[in-house]
Amino acid sequence: MAGPGGIWLEWIGEGPMDQEVLERVRRQVEGAFALPTRLTAVNGPPGETLDAKRGQHSSTRILRWILTGIPRSAEKVLGITDVDLFIPVLTFVFGEAQVGGSAAVVSTARLRLTYDDRPAPRDLVEGRLVKECLHELGHTFGLVHCPEVACVMSRSNSVLDVDQKRAALCRDCRQRLEDLMEERDRS
């Protein structure tokens, strides 16, 4: 159970939630940030975030929507969805987060595919999802992109990039996260 200051992982997909996979993601997130993490499902994504012309959902609008309903006991809410996300100037995004804020969103749409657009194996998808969840949540704690390719905070522009990362912060980012957590505890 997530108490005050916890992380909420919210399934806001069109399809059903893969409870088994998301439970494993939850455990990894909890371990990485050492904060109580809970898994919930809400009806989503909201219709107003869809751009009918592009057939994709606006990640920025989803963030706004998440922010309107942050539960009192949650410090961070990460929406996880199966719809493809975009920001207006880009063809797609894997996710979006408020740097140093409360909300983030991650999409599995592109993570489910191999480099040549075939369905990827389930454990690969799960591994990628863990990385992207850690990445976007890292942003909400104030971390920015890391130049270290293997660090989970390095920018991913393709699944190839995601696959190069480890599901962990590099030493510098871990230190930075600790500093940020300390600052957060003081304030």
């Binding site: 920025t60 920001i87 880009l90 979006e96 408020q98 740097v99 920018r155």
Partner: protein
């Protein structure tokens, strides 16, 4: 963490501003947004921006107008024009007006990442270049000689004072440290600058030839002396006589020289008439004259005659901070001599030059650069083109040059990728490494498709 530059996003659509700002903030940039041209100009008046991302079509003031105003207000800022209407005309117009590039919406995340990354890298380099140039400016000069080393500054100071006098100067230093260049500089700064500078290498000639070279000869003085000739002492009248490699002259010539220095007059070989001298002597040697005196090879009295103002030039390995300065100086000379657009050496090459021990000193550096300039295929010299002999590793085995290996590895990877049409899996297999390793190498070496 080093703070990154500021970016201004100018777009009339709120969601574009918000999402782009959020995307760039994740990279650690400080991002401001403006909904229209006038607000953008107000922001430009308040803060310096590294990059502006400007929408082309906006009501009122359009992107091209914002671009034009930005060029005036902040010429160092790079402007990227974003457009949903990709026409060659507008793109050309934007580029003509000084836009860095333009992006057609929607663009691939990779495209934006690369462009912004490339720009910030280029700006960082430019800034570094400005700082380096500023550092270079803090150099001292003595005619053709440049340095920023405190040791050389002291040498220049001494040489400048010596130049004003008429005293004999003894320049000491290893081969290639620039003894003749310093001698010429002293001459050029001296009251004798309008007289001749005459140099003679004492080690290059036999005793009798050197004697005749220095003092001249009369007709019939020796076999083959069909006419009389003036020697360097006469030719250098009212100027400077530079006696290089003075440590190598024979005992007889040492005595002759001592007499000239004492009496300020001499006779030509085979001559009877005394000729008055009016020269300023600058002698130089790479040998330890004091030791030669101790061993009895060099006359002590001559040593003291010459050693009036001793100036010691340090070897290049003791003033390595001068290497970038000297590289720039020599490349500027070679650019003119060879009519080649030489701009500099790459970072790896400079690191290599800095690591070298330079037994041949500044002369060796110039030779290495000259050879590199001949081989250079572009304006920036690479480690391969400089082809510097690796310093001997402990134990006598030649050391590896990691720079060269890296260069070779990068080239080999690029060739393999091209051969396999950038299929990562097949290329990795051909290279005998796994896909992840290859991918990491591609990123590390910044290998791009289409190179």
């Amino acid at each position: 963490m080093k703070p990154k530059g500021s970016i201004l996003v100018v777009d009339d659509e709120e969601v574009v501003r918000e999402s782009l700002a959020s995307w760039l903030e994740e990279d650690g940039y400080r991002v401001d947004t403006a909904p229209d041209g006038p607000s953008a100009l107000a922001k430009l008046a308040e803060r310096a921006y590294a990059i502006l991302l400007v929408d082309l079509k906006m009501p009122g003031m359009d992107g091209l107008e914002v671009l034009a105003k930005t060029r005036l207000m902040q010429p160092d800022a790079s402007v990227i024009i974003m457009t949903a209407y990709a026409t060659v005309d507008t793109a050309v117009q934007a580029m003509k007006q000084g836009a860095y590039d333009y992006l057609v919406k929607p663009f691939e995340p990779e495209e934006l990442s690369l462009m912004v990354g490339k720009l910030t890298n280029a700006q960082a380099l430019q800034q570094e270049n400005v700082l380096l140039r500023k550092a270079l400016k803090r150099q001292c000069e003595f005619k053709d000689m440049l340095s920023k080393s405190p040791k050389m500054e002291a040498v220049f100071e001494l040489a400048r004072t010596a130049a004003k006098s008429n005293s004999t100067v003894l320049i000491l230093g290893d081969s290639g440290t620039g003894k003749e260049v310093l001698a010429r500089a002293i001459h050029a700064e001296s009251p004798r600058k309008d007289g001749p500078f005459v140099g003679v290498s004492c080690a290059a000639l036999t005793e009798s030839l050197l004697e005749s070279e220095l003092f001249g000869h009369e007709k019939g003085a020796f076999t083959g002396a069909t006419g009389s000739a003036r020697g360097k002492f006469e030719i250098a009248a009212r100027g400077t006589l530079f006696l290089d490699e003075i440590g190598d002259i024979s005992p007889k010539l040492q005595l002759d020289l001592l007499r000239v220095l004492d009496a300020k007059e001499f006779r030509r070989v085979g001559g009877t008439q005394l000729i008055k001298t009016d020269v300023r002597i600058i002698a130089a040697t790479n040998r330890d004259l004091k030791k030669l005196v101790e061993s009895g090879t060099f006359r002590e009295d001559l040593y003291y005659r010459l050693n009036v103002i001793p100036v010691t030039l340090p070897p290049l390995r003791e003033r390595k901070e001068d290497i970038p300065l000297l590289v720039e100086h020599f490349l500027a000379q070679l650019r003119v001599e060879m009519q080649k657009p030489l701009e500099g050496v790459c970072t790896e090459a400079l690191e290599m030059l800095m690591a070298h021990d330079w037994p041949g000193n500044v002369r060796e550096l110039r030779n290495v650069l000259e050879r590199g300039a001949v081989l250079a295929r572009g304006p920036i010299l690479s480690p391969l083109e400089l082809d510097l002999a690796p310093p001997a590793a402990p134990g006598g085995a030649p050391a590896e040059t990691p720079e060269s290996l890296r260069e070779a590895e990068r080239r080999h990877i690029l060739a393999t990728l091209k051969q396999h049409k950038w299929n990562i899996t097949r290329s990795a297999k051909a290279l005998g490494i796994d896909r992840v390793t290859l991918y990491n190498k591609i990123k590390r070496y910044q290998i791009r498709e289409g190179e």
